[in-house]
């Protein structure tokens, strides 16, 4: 048995269980089924790749998402099976010992380690807003990133600035990609991000020696290729113009679309609707709350979680009856916006929340 299998077996995960997990991973990443076997073999063979996890201006929710999504997560175990050489949140060492561990991990694995960062980088006051061991995040990133093989910006703060960068952005927070410009970098946004996306990216890297295909925001296409709306189980209600008007009305009880209650699903690219959360249990819309768009740039400043988007983003397929009854929201607005959306689609550009937000806001 190799080291990974031994560790998995010790935690009660058999070879078959692991292979099954890799098959699922390959399927989620739209890779051919044989890739599952290849991934399992590559992960088992791989010299435990060194991972350095730097926490910057963040809330630790991303790390919680990976390590505690359910017990025990295979994501967590694979993560564990990697050589996590530095994570000041998880490691037992503290103070000078921890700093020594970081220095040693960077030197011993120069050019080979995977650098995972959660949190944004404050650039105000020369980075003084967030420091570890007396050094600013900015300083640390500039020193460590050039020696990494790949950089994973984990969560919306690292990927796009997130909440720290929300207006008025008092600390001058920026995304990792603003500082790290000459390294292979993948953004895994979400507040928090879906754990399996990180495992998928790392498994892909270890199996094929490259990052998976990314979109223009450097997100893995396999997980961020479709909107929540594209895969939402409430979509048939949207298409029929059936919308809940408040969280406790008859429509809400019937499971109707949450568009008018501010759902940002139509402009949010993420895999929640099919990968789901808590061991595939559900995702927020299944709990009766609209998508808040947490994996999109600037979601915090997008005008309010309960403020509806101005126009449906997908093709309107309203039944004649629904239109006649005036049941649909903003049909006229939709027509007014169609040209803009059409242009965005033609140029294959993602329409942003700001593009679609109601100018006057708030009315339902």
């Amino acid at each position: 048995m190799n080291e990974l299998q031994e560790r998995l077996a010790w935690r009660g995960i058999s070879r078959r269980g692991f292979l099954k997990y890799c098959t699922m991973l390959a399927s989620l990443m739209a890779l051919p089924p044989a890739a599952g076997q290849a991934m399992a073999e590559a992960l088992a063979r791989a010299r435990r790749p060194a991972v350095i996890w730097l926490p910057f201006q963040e809330c630790t929710g991303c790390l919680e998402s990976i390590t505690r999504s359910h017990t025990p997560t295979i994501e967590g175990l694979i993560f564990d099976a990697l050589s996590l050489d530095y994570s000041e949140t998880l490691m037992a060492a503290a103070g000078h010992q921890a700093e020594q561990a970081l220095k040693r991990a960077v030197e011993d694995n120069a050019g080979r380690f995977i650098l995972v960062i959660d949190g944004s980088v404050p650039t105000g006051l020369n980075g003084a807003y967030s420091c570890i061991a007396g050094r600013s995040n900015l300083d640390l990133l500039r020193e460590v990133a050039p020696k990494a093989a790949v950089v994973i910006a984990m969560g919306s703060c690292a990927a796009f600035g997130g909440i720290p960068a929300a207006r008025p952005n008092p600390t001058g927070a920026v995304a990792i990609s603003e500082i790290v410009r000459d390294k292979p970098l993948v953004n895994i946004p979400g507040c928090p991000p879906i754990p399996v996306v990180m495992t998928g990216v790392i498994a892909h890297y270890l199996t094929f020696g490259s990052l998976p295909e990314l979109d223009r925001l450097r997100r893995p296409r396999a997980f961020y290729g479709e909107t929540i709306h594209d895969r939402c189980y409430r979509r048939p209600f949207y298409d029929r113009g059936l919308f809940a008007k408040s969280f406790d009305d008859e429509g809400a009880r019937q499971g109707w679309c949450l568009f008018e209650l501010g759902c940002k699903g139509p402009v949010t690219y993420n895999a929640c609707a099919h990968v789901k959360w808590n061991d595939h249990t559900s995702f927020p819309i299944e709990s009766g709350h609209g998508c808040i768009g947490c994996s999109e740039p600037g979601f915090w400043d997008a005008g309010g979680f309960y403020r509806p988007l101005s126009a449906p983003a997908g093709p309107l397929k309203l039944a004649a009856g629904a239109v006649a009854a005036g049941a649909a929201v903003g049909v006229a607005v939709a027509i007014a916006n169609r040209a803009r959306k059409g242009a965005a689609r033609a140029a294959h550009v993602t329409a942003t929340v700001a593009d679609l937000e109601k100018a006057d806001g708030g009315e339902r």
Binding site: M1, I13, S14, R15, R16, G17, F18, L19, K20, Y21, T23, M24, A26, S27, L28, A30, P32, P33, A34, Q37, H70, I74, K276, D279, H280, T281
Partner: protein
């Protein structure tokens, strides 16, 4: 004689993907016979409508073997009526189906035990015997 007497088979309009699956399965089975190497088709990434899916299940039929695997949740591996083609459904611990494949093989890849596992089994047997001595 009315028009209804003329036999017309109307197939659902969305069968293209299901037909493609059948065709690809035939290629994989031919390869299995020729080289011993099979393959698999991931149903999770195919846009199969419920009607197309039902049609596919119907066409493939049901074989004699059904295997239940308990490893990180329940999986079922069902032999189809076309020997060598297995319908594989993997579930997680919450009972949710996480992936679904059609596997072409003499024996599905997850079923055989590895040499290391047999060696472990032998050790276990021997230690059990030791306890009896």
């Amino acid at each position: 004689m009315g028009l209804e007497a003329i036999p017309v088979v109307v197939e659902p309009a969305d069968l293209a993907a299901a037909r493609a699956v059948l065709r690809e399965l035939a290629v994989l089975v031919e390869r299995l016979l020729a080289t011993g190497e099979g393959g698999a088709i991931d149903l999770g990434v195919l846009p199969l409508t419920p009607a197309a899916r039902a049609w596919l299940i119907d066409r493939l039929g049901r074989g004699e073997v059904e295997i239940r695997l308990t490893a990180g949740g329940q999986s079922t591996i069902t032999e189809t009526g076309c020997a060598g083609v297995w319908w594989v459904r993997h579930g997680n611990e919450a009972g949710v189906v996480t992936s679904e494949l059609l596997e072409v093989a003499y024996v599905p890849g997850l079923v055989p035990v590895s040499r290391a596992e047999v060696e472990n089994g032998l050790q276990r047997l021997n230690s059990g015997l030791d306890g009896l001595n």
